[in-house]
């Protein structure tokens, strides 16, 4: 009898707390440009799950824009609960301003990046210039479209992929990599400011023979123009792009939204979150989900930022800072 009473009281207590805790929560996810579709689906799935488990009504607001610009907005006071950006360097910049703990990349699995992508080539129907690998991009008469690494996070992945390729060729060194990348940018007729702009230049304006692009962006472009006009070429070696995720500590503490924000970040790693990522052309981390989408993502030979460049801060300093290698090599003509 006593036991029964305890259980009854406990249940009643839980019900009361649940009812008292059922509240309206808003989260702001500050993300980068091409993730609109992805997060629209993630958000509605997460909201439904949280409602079922906790009874709270969660509303998730989104902000999209260039990754670097978004990081700057958060530094300048945009009250993001969670940031989902294109590269770790941008989240590092937020951490440098004291809004996120410095060890953010160790707080979530897989370098705090729930899904990955790689850098691939998009070529025109039938691959008229016979482009198979990085070396083909610097053949005479081949025009390459890639955005400007100084203004686009995505373009920095492209640059580093090319560098890593050259470095891993027989006899590869910093000098040969530099020569290769220099040569590559001489084949670029237009440097768009962002990845989406470069895709438009290639697909809509018909400029260039090959677009260096994120795999998700290439798959999306192929889907949108119909499978015939363009095709995807996977190079022999490329970079593993790991777009990271972090909870913005200072903001969630102030807004008392930490629990929901953390659950949201973890939801990205759940089977459902992974499935949504895969459907939006991002490579899932989960082996099970990856198996289901094996036909969409051919196996690739990739290297990570850590393996070749140490980390993003070092890569940024060596290649993209004022007067660093990208500025030195110059481009075009």
């Amino acid at each position: 009898m006593k036991k029964f009473l305890t259980v009854l009281l406990l249940t009643a207590g839980m019900l009361v707390t649940a009812a008292a805790a059922a509240k309206d929560v808003t989260l702001l996810n500050v993300s980068y440009d091409p993730t609109r579709e992805l997060y629209r689906q993630i958000n509605s799935a997460f909201v439904a799950q949280w409602k079922a488990q906790h009874g709270d009504n969660v509303t998730i607001q989104m902000s999209h824009g260039g990754s670097g610009k978004q990081a700057r907005s958060v530094v300048d006071g945009l009250p993001a609960d969670i940031v989902t950006l294109a590269l770790a360097y941008d989240i590092d910049a937020i951490a440098d301003h004291g809004l996120i703990a410095k060890d953010w990349q160790q707080r979530l699995p897989n370098n705090a990046s729930p899904y990955t992508s790689t850098i691939v080539f998009l070529v025109r129907k039938g691959n008229p210039k016979g482009i198979k690998d990085w070396a083909d991009l610097v053949r005479p008469g081949v025009q390459v479209i890639t955005p400007n690494p100084k203004s686009s996070g995505g373009a920095r992945w492209n640059f580093l992929a090319a560098w890593g390729y050259a470095l891993r060729q027989p006899g590869g060194s910093d000098a040969t990599a530099r020569a290769f990348v220099h040569d590559l940018y001489k084949h670029v007729p237009v440097l768009d400011t962002g990845a989406r702009g470069a895709t438009n230049t290639f697909v809509q304006r018909g400029i260039g023979d090959v677009l260096i692009a994120w795999e998700d962006e290439a798959l999306l472009a192929r889907k949108q123009v119909g499978g015939d006009a363009v095709q995807i070429v996977v190079p022999s070696i490329t970079i593993l792009a790991e777009p990271p995720v972090a909870v913005v500590d200072k903001n969630v503490d102030k807004r008392e939204s930490r629990a929901v924000a953390q659950a949201y970040a973890q939801f990205l790693y759940s089977p459902q979150g992974q499935d949504i990522a895969a459907r939006n052309f991002y490579r899932p981390r989960s082996a099970d989900v990856a198996k289901q989408y094996a036909s969409q993502f051919p196996p690739t030979n990739t290297f990570t930022i850590q393996e070749v460049f140490g980390d993003w801060r070092q890569a940024q300093k060596k290649f993209f800072d004022e007067g660093a290698i990208f500025d030195q090599i110059g481009t075009g003509n």
Binding site: G66, G68, K69, A71, R72, V75, A93, N148, K150, S151, S152, V188, P189, V190, L191, D192, T193, G197, Q204, R205, G206, I207, Q316, F320, D321, E322, D327, G330, T331, G332, N333
Partner: protein, 274 residues
């Protein structure tokens, strides 16, 4: 004591000054304050890199050429719209304002669609070897587009108020048409034309949205100063971006002062030639 339309001169003046300070001066002061972090030496180093110089050359040179082009064509268009009556005149008149109303990014995308080698105009120009999109010429085209209404709209009221009997007098005294235009009409229009020129120039120098879509954005070749500023921000280099912005501000200000001086000079010249 003179009669005043606005009541309470002291209050309305104070209000106007405070408002101007809040909306115009404060942001500009913040810009200069942020830029000061870089120091004089840093500013000189920043402004003297070949890449910055090339961008300044394109931004200022392109804006000057575009404003000149607009001054000539804008005068012509303004003249036609004021002096002649023809079907569709009101529609044409309304079209002049379109570059004001259109978001500049939309204009940029439309222009690059039009002038890309596979675009409506580009596919005819390309075989002739004229490349517009993704070259400095494209920058010029975008700058002409955004600056055009300034010239037409500043000139129109003055053109409408020109008295025809002056022209008739010139003609009756035996002046050729070109003489009437260059010695009678143009001096009267000069100060206003310069105002339109200055406005178009200032707009073109700072233009970002429409230019980046058509420029190609290659360093040393087709990169404008506002793009350099955006790139600096992208690298979290606030001081460098603010310094470039402040430099552009100073340059625009200097150009506006020169134009104002020219205006006064041409105004006096017009008075004398009457």
């Amino acid at each position: 004591m003179r009669h005043r339309v606005l009541p309470g001169f002291g209050i309305s003046l104070g209000y106007a000054l405070a408002y101007l300070g809040l909306i115009v001066l404060l942001p500009l002061a913040a810009l200069v304050w942020k830029a000061s972090g870089i120091g004089v030496e840093g500013l000189i180093r920043l402004l003297s890199t070949p890449r910055t110089l090339a961008a300044l050359r394109l931004s200022i040179g392109g804006a000057l050429l575009a404003a000149l082009f607009n001054a000539v064509i804008g005068l012509l268009v303004g003249w036609v719209l004021v002096r002649y009556r023809f079907p569709g005149r009101r529609l044409f008149d309304a079209l002049v304002d379109l570059p004001f109303a259109l978001p500049t990014a939309v204009a940029g995308i439309a222009l690059s669609t039009l002038y890309a080698p596979n675009g409506w105009l580009g596919k005819w120009l390309d075989p002739l070897g004229i490349k517009v999109a993704y070259t400095p010429l494209g920058v010029f085209v975008a700058m002409v587009f955004v600056g055009f209404p300034f010239v037409v709209r500043t000139l129109q009221p003055v053109l409408a108020s020109l008295e025809r009997d002056v022209e008739e007098a010139a003609e009756s005294l035996g002046a050729q048409r070109w003489q009437t235009f260059f010695r009678v009409i143009l001096p009267m229009l000069a100060p206003t034309l310069l105002t339109g020129f200055a406005l178009a120039l200032a707009r073109a120098m700072g233009e970002y949205g429409s230019v980046i879509f058509i420029a190609g954005n290659l360093p040393m070749h087709s990169e404008i100063v506002p793009l350099l500023i955006v790139q600096k921000l992208e690298q979290f280099d606030y001081a460098g971006a603010a310094a470039l912005g402040a430099a552009m501000l100073l340059l625009s200000f200097a150009l506006l002062v020169i134009v104002a001086l020219l205006q006064r000079w041409s105004g006096r010249w017009a008075e004398r030639s009457r």
